[in-house]
């Protein structure tokens, strides 16, 4: 996964958090739907592990289907964490609870995303060696 995927995801996450706090709800809904559509299109290509570069095109069976499932599962988990953190921040009297929660989750995306992919890569190599 390229570095810009994780930075883009984290930036959009914060953007949606800020939007929830300061913008009209319809703007947030529209931004969320747009984010979902764009992310779906981009990640579908990237997570298959077959993004074409000028150097090499990796075979689909080398990647397997675990990476998309794992990353999708993590994203669903992060949505739940964002909502829970926003409610907790709101209960604590924070003025911008969604923004705070989204910054927290964005940081975990930047720190955990590359590590998740490293774990997936290690697992793929181990399975390939096991035949």
């Amino acid at each position: 996964m390229p570095w810009w995927y994780w930075w883009g995801l984290a930036t959009c996450w914060i953007g949606l958090g800020v939007s929830s706090d300061v913008a009209d709800p319809w703007v947030t809904v529209a931004a969320t739907v747009t984010f979902g559509a764009v992310h779906s299109a981009v990640s579908q290509r990237l997570l298959a592990g077959r993004q074409r570069t000028s150097d090499v095109k990796v075979r689909a069976d080398v990647m397997g289907g675990r990476a998309p499932a794992l990353v999708f599962g993590c994203l669903v988990g992060l949505v739940a964490v964002t909502i829970a953190a926003a409610f907790a921040a709101s209960a604590d009297g924070a003025r911008h609870p969604a923004t705070l929660a989204s910054v927290l989750v964005a940081a975990s995306i930047l720190l955990g995303g590359p590590r998740l992919m490293a774990a997936i890569r290690t697992d793929a190599i181990r399975r390939a060696q096991a035949g």
């Binding site: 000028s54 150097d55 090499v56 990796v58 080398v62």
Partner: protein, 101 residues
């Protein structure tokens, strides 16, 4: 060993084995990518690719759409089958040696 396990003398030398193993994980790979990954010179890689191409194990393509002149190498179905057979044969040898120990 399975029926498909077959030691392949053409693939076995370290350089060619590395090239074929790299190509086995890809649909295709650029000449410069293979060269840099394996730390080979242009002439050494060209020589090995020519041997593999002559045997029908790989195909060399020169995409016309690219701005820069590029050379792509890909494993043919024959090359992929021979590589799988060679890996199976090596596994068989290793398994028999470890079971004897």
């Amino acid at each position: 060993m399975t029926d498909s396990a077959r030691f392949d003398d053409l693939i076995h030398p370290a350089t060619r084995l590395s090239i074929v193993a790299l190509l086995a994980a890809a649909d295709w790979a650029d000449f410069a990518f293979v060269r840099d990954q394996l730390g080979l010179s242009d002439s050494a890689l060209s020589k090995q690719l020519a041997t593999l191409e002559e045997a029908g194990y790989i195909a060399i393509e020169r995409p016309l759409s690219e701005r820069r002149r590029r050379v792509h190498a890909r494993l043919t179905p024959l090359g992929r089958a021979r590589f799988a057979g060679h890996v199976a044969a090596l596994r068989g040898i290793i398994a028999s040696s470890t079971s004897e120990a």
